[in-house]
Structures are given as C-alpha cells and as structure tokens.
Symmetry: C2
Subunit: 205 residues, 2 copies
C-alpha cells in the first residue's frame, strides 16, 4: 500500500500523513525504491491511534509522540510497568504544572490519599492539589465529603481498569495507557448522563 492507500484507509489527507511521517508519529514505510514506500496494517493502526489520541483524548501531537515512545520502548524492567505507564500518562498530560499548589490543598490531597490507602505519588498529589486550588479560586467549594465520594468512585474505576489487563506485560502497558486515555472522555460523558438522571430523581429541580 502506498501513501495514497494509507490515506484512503484512514481518511487522513496525504499531506497530513506526510507531516506525521516527518514528525516521527508514524514510522516510515518499507522503501521499495527511492520514491516509493510500502505501508501495511500496522501503519493504518498507528494513524488511527494518533487520530484517536488527538481527537478523542485531546492530546497534543507532542504528547502523542511521548505516549507512543513509551509504548514502543521495552519497559526496561517488567515490574515497573505501571510506573512506566503512569510516567507516560502524566508526562503526556498537562505541563501546566509548574507550581505545586497551596500548602493547605496539598495537605488535603495527601490526607485523602492516606485515607484511601493509596500511594502518594508526588506528581499526582501535586496535580490534585492544584486542581483543588483552581476550584477554590473560582469560588467552587469542594467539600471533604464530596471529595471522598469521588475517590470512592475512582477506586471502583481503577479496579475495573486493572481488571481488563492480561498478564502479558507488553499488551498490559498498551491496554492501561491507551485504555485510560481513551476512556477518560467516556467517563466524563457518563458523568453528565448520570447527572441528568440524578436531577430527575431529586425532583424537577
């Protein structure tokens, strides 16, 4: 399959594919001559993956590149797999995290983590603290009780996420990283649907 075939198979314009190739988001095809290369199904999958991560998960191309690099790498030691996965996830997401949140919100975050028996990954705790600060600054009060309920729901989700994983380390990494990124928007949509249901039940509002 030549580049126009790849374009036809994925619905992505040839010019954009060339751009992805240049940027290293899609590996080059097998060159059959100086002006011809052959693309196969793995390329089709790659292109679709890039589109899904940008369009649905909302990642930037730079973030996509990081995620793909993490997936392609043999994850050094197999027991550090989830660590690698989260490194990829966290790095792929907001770089808007320079500061580390207020002392107060960091304490709240750390207390919640401790209460749940979660590990206190510094990156994640800091991020949570910043998000709590942002809500506070916007005048939205996030109570401890409410936060606990969110955490309980997250706990269920985390369990479900890991439940889908096969023991095979490479596909597990792929499954967790991509699955999480691609079902984040799904989760938020479900949340909105559930809100509508909840509002009906609590009366007309």
């Amino acid at each position: 399959m030549r580049i126009s075939g790849l374009a036809a198979a994925t619905g992505v314009p040839v010019a954009t594919l060339k751009y992805y190739l240049r940027e290293g988001l899609v590996p080059p095809g097998a060159a059959t001559s100086r002006t011809q290369a052959d693309y196969d199904d793995t390329h089709v999958g790659r292109v679709r993956l890039v589109r899904a991560l940008t369009e649905s998960a909302g990642l930037s191309l730079a973030a996509v590149r990081d995620v793909l690099a993490a997936l392609d790498d043999p994850p050094t030691s197999r027991h550090d797999l989830l660590g690698a996965a989260h490194h990829a996830l966290v790095a792929a997401e907001g770089d808007r995290a320079a500061g580390a949140g207020t002392d107060l919100s960091r304490r709240r975050a750390r207390e919640l983590v401790a209460e749940r028996g979660w590990c206190d990954d510094l990156l994640l705790v800091d991020r949570l603290a910043e998000q709590l600060d942002a809500a506070d600054a916007a005048g939205v009060e996030v109570s401890d009780d409410y936060l606990r309920e969110l955490a309980a729901a997250a706990d269920q989700i985390g369990t479900a996420d890991l439940g889908t994983v096969r023991p095979d380390p490479v596909s597990a990494l792929r499954q967790v990283v991509l699955g999480t990124l691609l079902t984040d928007p799904v989760l938020l949509t479900l949340r909105r649907m559930a809100q509508v249901r909840a509002s009906r039940e609590t009366g007309g509002v």
Copy 2:
C-alpha cells in the same frame, strides 16, 4: 480598584486583563472618567473563574464565554435548570462532534443508557458513541462489562454531584456547571491514583 489593582489581586497581567475586557470575558468596570474605571470583587472573582476554567478545566476562551453567558442568563424557566446547565456544558466542550458515530456504537450507547434508566439525551449519546468508536479505531477494546462498571461509578458520581446542590436555582446552576467542569480533572487524577493502588494489589505486575 483600577486595572492595575485587579492585576495585582489576580496575578494576571494588565495586558491580558485588557484582552479579556475586549473579548467580553470580564464585564467593564464602572467608568469614573473617560480614562478610568473602577473594578470590584466581582471582577476579581470573574478573572479567577476565567483562569480556573482555562487552566484547570482546559476550556478555550470561546467556551468560557459560552459558559459565562449561560450562567449570567436568567435560566428562562427554573425547572429547565439542569437542561440549561447541560446545554452550557455540552456546548462548551468539544465541537469536534460533527458526525454521530457508527450505528453499532450508537446502539451500544443507547443500550447502556436504557439499562441504567438514564434519559437518552441525543447529544450525549452521540458523543459517547463517537468516543467508543475512537477507542475501537485505536484498537482498544471496551467490553460491555467494563462499560457497565464505568457507568455504575458515574452513577455514584452523578448522585454526589447533585447532592451538593442547594434548592436555590441560580446558585444550583452555578454549582453544577462550574463544579462539574472544575472537578472533571480532579476525577481523572483520582482515577490514576486508584490505578496505582489497584496495580499494587493485583501483585507486582
């Protein structure tokens, strides 16, 4: 307070505040002369809100404008409040929804909604269908069982969301819309934390 005071109070540069004023994201201050206007605490709150929605919730300025417009409007009829809220939320988020998803995924989405007893808001169902398609295209399989678990967790969250609301209609709208937008990232962070916990429990992986 003049514009420099507003800048000092919010940490946002004067040039940026002027830009927000021009774009109508922040209402003009009370003009005390042709070259002077007075800003008060409501302006400080507005600016902080804009920053929280862009930096933490990841909205574009255009989306922020839509959300603010929806909040400022008297919500026509008070019983359509959640409807207004969701209209604001949905409109504020992805416009990347032109198509409507595969027939298959739309059916899956509608079945899930029916199973949960949720209302089948067309906009939300279509969005969910597209997100499922994106995951599928990327080669990530989302099983029905897994989706059900996500929905169950979402149901809890939706209940918790509505539980924080006071019967006062105006503050309820504000609470739901802003609360949802600002705790979406919180929820995703908690999910990642829970994944780390789950991975520890299922063995070293």
